[in-house]
């Protein structure tokens, strides 16, 4: 397996922009928590957290420029996590 990584790095300005985006979404999620959206609140919070997480993942953790193996295995892990949580609800949601 040849190591044909083109060594890529993000410039400081790009990283800083990502930080600003993260802070922005942090503000959003705090703000939304003051609105009463009922059952929707937790889902909105999770979506925003996922967006923030994606920025950390794609940029700080460099996933945007990683190969197939990492992308697929990462998604596979999240998939398994999703099964762990959702399949438990086959039980607890229908008792």
């Amino acid at each position: 397996m040849e190591n044909k990584d083109v060594l890529h790095y993000f410039e400081y300005q790009s990283l800083f922009k990502v930080l600003l985006v993260l802070l922005f979404f942090t503000g959003i999620t705090v703000g939304v928590s003051y609105l009463d959206l009922g059952a929707l609140n937790v889902w909105v919070a999770l979506v925003i957290a996922s967006i923030k997480g994606s920025f950390v993942l794609l940029f700080f953790m460099h996933m945007k420029y990683e190969g197939r193996v990492l992308v697929i295995s990462f998604l596979g892990t999240i998939f398994f996590l999703g099964i762990m949580i959702s399949f438990t609800f086959w039980d607890v949601a229908f008792r």
Binding site: V69, W90, D91, F94, R95
Partner: protein, 544 residues
């Protein structure tokens, strides 16, 4: 062959001598053998514990164990067998020894991490031994269900910590193997040239990596509950005990695929070699291995039909369980089809593999009985289940382990064992096995509960017969192991390829040199292409 120094003569790192050439080695082959030594010890110990259990059950009432001792004994038997034998055995012994060789490289990707995994394994074993003392080994069963595992005064925390440490070893081995397979394959070995044993290790490694952390956190929670009484699983404090079972089986069901996948990989190696014929359906076996790994993570709650979980969950998990049976069956069809019209060479590894196919099929079919809700309600927590999982775990993985031992022994040690004694041992083992476990199916259907130290009088006959079967089984096991060990007294005179194999481990001397290969290995475009082997053997016109 005497001129070539094997890895036994060449320590790595080179400056180590004596015992340190083993304890501080980073050579994957030595690490594999160190695992073998420890694993055989734990296996034989757990076999004797099993013998004690069956001796107790041979006669109604207390025979040789008190009720409390019986509970601790079956817990210990289960914990050792599962965490110290069945889960690690094939990957740690044969995966370590042969994975790098099968892919044409000289070691795993992280050799020092590999050694650390062995130390973690040994540490886990030591901690397990420690938990035998003072308050006594847990009496909860290897499943450690709450609330009893939280309230019982036996050494649950220590034992569970042992399992935690062992889980770490398992995870790190999986991590090592995945990285090795991705990054260190011989340049000519694409994914579709990888041997089936290595493929099985690849699928297994993903399950080891992703499923083990679930049991890790679950066991941590048990300890936290024992010490801090948080109440996460305590109904009087808002908790739900069934959630413990969900978390526990989220690992422990995929764990059975960790147990069986490498075993299937071994059989997929032995069958084509013994048939001098390419395996039927290489791609189907690859796909089914990965499918089993994925689908196996969707079915955990089929261990919980009677737990009190919702009917919907019961239905869904049962349906999915039937789905996961399909890829396993595909493999059985492939093996049998490979044998068909093959040029069969009977050897001990083949004999054990055939026994595997038979016993594992019974295990799998009875798995459908427990997997179907209607029938499971009747047999859950009875000896039917005990028989089912012994057919799959012992008749399956256990026999695959013995088959692997007999298949790769000449490669690892350069010596051949006595075939006749091997056959006798295997026959005693298989015959004893049937005699021992088939009565349990019947007893289970008649209603005899599992994990009970005593039983109603009308179960006595079945238990008595089962005890006899156990005796034959144990004799067979010891005979096989002693036969193998005795072979070490012979001369080191085995050729590179005593069986006529096509995978890369048969292109190197027996035992292999330190860096695995003397000459550049020849990677076949199709890993089970026997034309060369057939040509060689028909030209030579010899026996072996």
């Amino acid at each position: 062959m005497d001129a070539v120094k094997s890895f036994f003569e060449t320590p790595s790192p080179a400056n180590r001598t004596g015992i340190w050439a083993w304890l501080l080695t980073t050579d994957h082959k030595r690490i594999g053998l160190m695992y073998l030594f420890a694993i055989l010890f734990w296996f034989l110990l757990a076999v004797l514990l099993g013998g004690l259990l069956r001796l107790e059950l041979m006669f109604p009432g207390e025979t040789i164990l008190t009720a409390e001792m019986y509970n601790s004994t079956f817990t210990l038997h289960g914990v050792i067998m599962i965490f110290l034998f069945i889960i690690p055995a094939l990957p740690a012994v044969f995966g370590n020894f042969f994975l790098p060789i099968q892919i044409g490289t000289d070691d795993v990707f992280f050799p020092k991490l590999n050694l650390m995994s062995w130390y973690l394994y040994m540490l886990g074993g030591v901690i397990a031994i420690l938990s035998l003392f003072s308050d006594g080994f847990p009496d909860t069963g290897w499943t450690f269900y709450v609330p009893f595992s939280i309230s019982t005064h036996t050494n649950v925390s220590t034992a569970v910590f042992a399992a935690f440490v062992l889980g770490f070893a398992s995870m790190l081995t999986g991590l090592n193997f995945i990285t090795t397979i991705h990054r260190m394959r011989h340049p000519k070995m694409g994914w579709m040239q990888i041997p089936l044993f290595t493929w099985s290790l690849y699928a297994t490694s993903w399950v080891q990596l992703l499923a083990t952390p679930v049991i890790s956190i679950t066991l941590v929670l048990v300890v936290i509950e024992r010490f801090f009484n948080v109440g996460l699983f305590d109904p009087s404090r808002g908790g739900d005990p069934i959630l413990y079972q969900h978390l526990f089986w989220m690992y422990s069901h995929p764990a059975v695929y960790i147990m069986i996948l490498p075993g299937m990989g071994v059989i997929s190696e032995i069958i084509p070699v013994s048939s001098r014929k390419s395996i039927f359906g290489y791609k189907a076996i690859v796909a089914s291995s990965m499918a089993i790994a994925v689908a196996g993570s969707l079915v955990w709650a089929h261990h919980m039909y009677t737990s009190g979980m919702s009917d919907t969950a019961v239905f869904v998990f049962s349906l999915l369980t039937f789905v996961v049976a399909i890829p396993s069956a595909i493999k059985v069809f492939s093996w049998v089809s490979t044998l068909y019209k093959g040029s069969i060479l009977m050897t001990p590894p083949l004999f054990l593999s055939l026994c595997f196919i038979y016993l594992f099929s019974i295990g799998g079919l009875t798995g459908l009985v427990v997997g179907a809700v209607g029938t499971d309600i009747h047999v859950h927590d009875t000896h039917f289940v005990v028989a089912h999982f012994h057919f799959t775990m012992f008749g399956g993985t256990g026999f695959a382990f013995f088959a692997a031992l007999h298949y790769w022994w000449p490669k690892m040690f350069g010596r051949m064992y006595d075939f006749k004694k091997a056959y006798i041992g295997a026959i005693l083992l298989t015959g004893g096995f049937m005699f021992h476990y088939v009565p349990m199916f019947i007893l289970g259907m008649q209603g005899m509960p599992r994990r009970y130290f005593d039983y109603l009088p009308h179960y006595a006959t079945g238990n008595f017969f089962a005890g006899f079967g156990a005796g034959f089984m144990i004799i067979g096991i010891f005979l096989m192991v002693i036969n193998l060990v005795l072979s070490l007294k012979n001369q080191r005179d085995v050729s590179s390829d005593p069986w006529g194999g096509t995978t890369l481990e048969w292109q190197t001397p027996s035992p292999p040199p330190l860096h695995n290969f003397l000459t550049e290995p020849v990677v076949l475009a199709y890993p089970y292409d026997f034309t060369g082997v057939v040509k060689r053997y028909s030209k030579e016109d010899k026996g072996e």
